[in-house]
Amino acid sequence: MKSPLPMKPLLLASFTATSCVGRGTQATLDALRARRGGLARCTFADVRLETCTGEVSGVDGEALPAALRDFDCRNNRLAQLGLHQDGFASAVQESAGRWGPRRVGVFLGTSTSGILQTEMAYRRLDPISGELPADFHYAQTQNSFSLADFARRALGLAGPAVVVSSACSSSAKVFGSARRMIEAGLIDAAVVGGVDSLCLTTLYGFHSLQLTARGPCRPFDVARDGISISEAAAFALLERCPDSLDAEAILLLGVGESSDAYHMSSPQPEGLGARAAMAAALHSAGLQAQDIDYINLHGTGTMSNDSAESRAVASLFDATVPCSSTKGATGHALGAAGALEAVICAIALQQDLAPAGINTKEPDPSLGLRYLLENRTARIARALSNSFGFGGTNCSLVLGRAD
């Protein structure tokens, strides 16, 4: 694979995350510090599966503005809930005021968007005509673009907008797309992030692949048995770096992407695609492997992912680099995982906290990584976050402190 050109760092002018561990960055930090997870026995809809999920509480209570009521679905309610944490929406509006609404783009990732709406509408087909109910709004709910369309309208933006839907790498790859548009000069700022919400397709689909864990997922454990599906909304506002930065400022330093060319639902066993994405991210950041102080692993908790990912990490990094998957706490938020874990890395950088991988009791010795079972407090200047997905799509991000 060709090496990418080095990129100019971008500022995360604002960022936020809402997941089953809490609303906003403070609640997320509190959960990480307390090693508290949000996974519980699946009680979603009428699903009868022996598995745990990471459901965000209060999503059903979120009411969309009247003008956007056609967008009403679980995914957009979760998007709205997420946008209103940490003053994120206000920061975006401030940015739009500075640059103009046409100069702020929206690049969001989702794997299933509002498909739950369609799943439920199929239970209400007209018994005679077989037609969908009149209150079903395809474009505003099921269609993948629904998320970016909703966020763009809710935030009053008028710049380029697109959804990246590449399964579980979606909301990592949006950082790359936004970065290029800023670099090209088409826009001055970008709302990036991801939202995915619980639905029957993913719960029954991953179950059919025998990839769902019975209890809360245990990434990198010797007895790991699959993923815990969850939901999340996570966002960042990207801007060019100003001349002077706060010491606390967090930067996007590198983005690396690759394809496995191997299989639709299994990673390349040696982790070659994952390795290529991490190497590309380091290259675009102008960094070496030893410059990374913490790796937030994709770490889904399946046998095959954790094995392939560990080989990829071990082939590129020194065995002493602290690693963990935060999916033991947050579950696997699928198309929102990349953005959620980028925000967790931003929190880790600000707090000098490398979070433990919870639920994991006995790290698989054959994987050979320095997998954190306890929180580690030490200076983190640069962190790398991995996101890999079905179709063999890989994306790694490098984030760092400005000081």
Partner: protein, 270 residues
């Protein structure tokens, strides 16, 4: 840089085109230029011979469409598909697969086949493309509903300009079955692909300069082609294809998001 509209420039090195009455760029350019009459007939999809036999049986119409269209473009550009980053843009992916899953989920004990599930991802075409061609370069899978072609073009142009690389763009859509058809009436399959390059060469078909701006997208003069443009999101590229077919300097406006277009200046090279 704030404030001014910006232009992204690239060379078109190869074109793929499959749609109703359209079988490849070389057979279609006369129809689009108006030198021979266009007649719509159901889209013919080539078999995905490049895929391993096991995968070949598993793919739906949209994947066959995307693969065949992409291969036409890389073939006409004379480039190795495995060497190119790719951008896949579709307004909705595989409607038939989605329908079958939604039907299965109405059962009291839902069963979804693993293949149906992994084919449900929006990046299925990108994944199968990578498996079929051996491409390990990055690929993107985009959706912008009716604006998906223009969104894909912007992403591909940004990659060409910023990453200084050749890029394959494939935009594709296929029909939805009932009852989804009632809210997404896409009548047939349409795919378009471009190999875009930062530098012009001996094979360059045209140079394009793309910017965001303009109030309304151009329409096709021919009523049947206009119906095609309006009914399949990927076919929103038709005004651009027509200018490329006419081999004249031209300025085209393509539908993008609400009250916003892409402006494409076309300079033919051969």
């Amino acid at each position: 840089m704030g404030g001014q509209a910006l232009t992204l420039r690239a060379s078109i090195e190869g074109i793929g085109l499959i749609g109703p009455g359209l079988d490849g760029w070389s057979l279609s350019s006369g129809l689009l230029a108006g030198t021979s009459p266009y007649a719509s007939r159901p889209t013919v999809l080539p078999a995905p011979d490049l895929l391993p036999p096991a995968e070949r049986r598993r793919v739906g119409r949209v994947v066959k469409l995307a693969l065949a269209t992409g291969l036409q473009a890389t073939g006409s550009a004379g480039v190795d598909a495995a060497e190119l980053p790719a951008v896949f843009a579709s307004s909705g992916g595989d409607g038939h697969n989605c329908h079958e899953i939604c039907v299965a989920l109405t059962e009291s004990t839902p069963q979804i086949s693993p293949t149906r599930f992994h084919n449900s991802v929006h990046n299925a075409a990108a994944g199968y493309w990578s498996i079929a061609t051996g491409a390990k370069e990055p690929s993107n899978a985009l959706c912008a509903h009716d604006a998906s072609f223009s969104a894909g073009l912007l992403e591909a142009m940004a990659q060409v300009v910023v990453d200084q690389t050749q890029v394959l763009l494939v935009a594709y859509d296929a029909q939805y079955p009932p009852p989804l058809y009632q809210c997404r009436p896409i009548p047939d399959a349409f795919g378009v692909a471009f190999v875009l390059s930062p530098n012009a060469g001996v094979r360059t078909i045209a140079q394009v300069a793309v910017s965001i701006g303009g109030e309304a997208g151009d329409r096709m003069m021919d009523a049947v082609l206009e119906a095609l443009r309006a009914s399949i999101p990927a076919a929103r590229c038709l005004p651009l294809l027509q200018k490329l077919a006419c081999r004249e300097n031209a300025c085209v406006h393509l539908d993008y998001l609400d009250r916003q277009c892409l402006t494409v200046e076309v300079t033919p090279c051969r």
